[in-house]
Symmetry: C2
C-alpha cells in the first residue's frame, strides 16, 4: 500500500489555526490544485462536475491519538467518531467546489486544506452516491458547537 502524490494543493492556509474545519465553513476561500503533468489526461470530463472530492495527505497532522477533543465539542470522543486530521492514516477528505480547469490546474472554491498538501485522488461528487439524509449524527447532532475554524491542537510541533 504505497501512495504516490498526483499533485499539490495550494491554498491561503499555512497554519491550522484559522483554517476552516470543513468546506461548508470555507465560503470565500479559494485555492488551486496542481495536478502533476503525467496525470493531467485523467482530468478529461471532470469540468462537468460542480463539486469534487479531494483526497489528500494531512502532512502537518500530529501523531494520531485514539481519543481526541474535537473542535466542535468540549469532551473527548473516539477518534473515528470525529473528522480530526491526526489519524493512523491521515487522509483528508474534502468536498470542494470546482470553479474551472485550465490544463493541469484546477481552480477551487470553498477550500479547507492546508497549503502544500499532497493530493492523492480526485473523485467527482455525485449526490446519488454521496448525499444521504440521515436521522442520527451522534455527538455532532447532539452537542456540536458552532465552530467554523481550526486551532493548532492537531498540528505537528514546528
Amino acid at each position: 500500500m504505497e501512495l504516490k502524490p498526483i499533485g499539490r494543493i495550494h491554498s491561503p492556509f499555512t497554519q491550522a489555526a484559522g483554517t476552516p474545519i470543513q468546506p461548508r465553513f470555507a465560503f470565500g476561500s479559494n485555492g488551486h490544485c496542481e495536478v502533476f503533468p503525467e496525470y493531467a489526461d485523467g482530468l478529461r470530463d471532470l469540468a462537468g462536475f460542480e463539486r469534487i472530492w479531494l483526497l489528500f495527505w494531512c502532512h502537518r497532522a500530529a501523531a494520531a491519538s485514539l481519543s481526541v477533543i474535537p473542535y466542535r465539542d468540549t469532551v473527548e470522543r473516539g477518534l473515528f467518531a470525529t473528522r480530526a486530521p491526526a489519524r493512523p492514516n491521515p487522509i483528508g477528505l474534502s468536498c470542494v467546489r470546482l470553479v474551472g480547469i485550465e490544463g493541469n490546474m484546477l481552480h477551487i472554491a470553498e477550500i479547507d486544506v492546508l497549503n502544500e498538501s499532497l493530493l492523492l485522488d480526485i473523485k467527482p461528487y455525485v449526490p446519488e452516491y454521496d448525499s444521504y439524509a440521515v436521522e442520527r449524527t451522534g455527538w455532532i447532532g447532539e452537542r456540536g458547537l458552532n465552530i467554523a475554524a481550526a486551532d493548532g491542537r492537531f498540528q505537528q510541533e514546528a
Copy 2:
C-alpha cells in the same frame, strides 16, 4: 506517506463481477468491519452515527489507466471524472450504513466493498459536511446508464 491497515472488511463479494458499484445500489448487502484491537478505542461514540465513510484499499484493482469506460457509460472518460477503482492511489470511499458495534466489530449494511479489503480509515457521515445539492454532475447526469453492479473490467487478472 505510508499506510497501515486499521482493520479488514468482510462482505459477501469475492469477485468484482456482481458487486454493487456503490452503497446506493447495495440494499440488502450486509457485511462487517473488523477493526484491529489496537485501534478499537477509537470507535467510542461512533455508534451514534447512522452512516459512516469507509476508506479502504482496493487490493484487487487493476493498474490505473487515465482513460476508462466507466460502468455507467459506453465511451471513455477521464479517470478522475469517474469512481473506477483502478486509480494511481486505489483508495475506495463508501458511505455505508452502520447497523451496530460489538467490541471491535462494526456491523454494516449497504456494503459495496470486496471481501478482505483492508480498512484505512473510518469517518462519521455528517450531512453538513458531506451532503450538497448540486446542479451539474457531468457525464453521469447527462448519460449515466442504469447500471447497479460491477463487471470484471477493473479487476486484476487472477
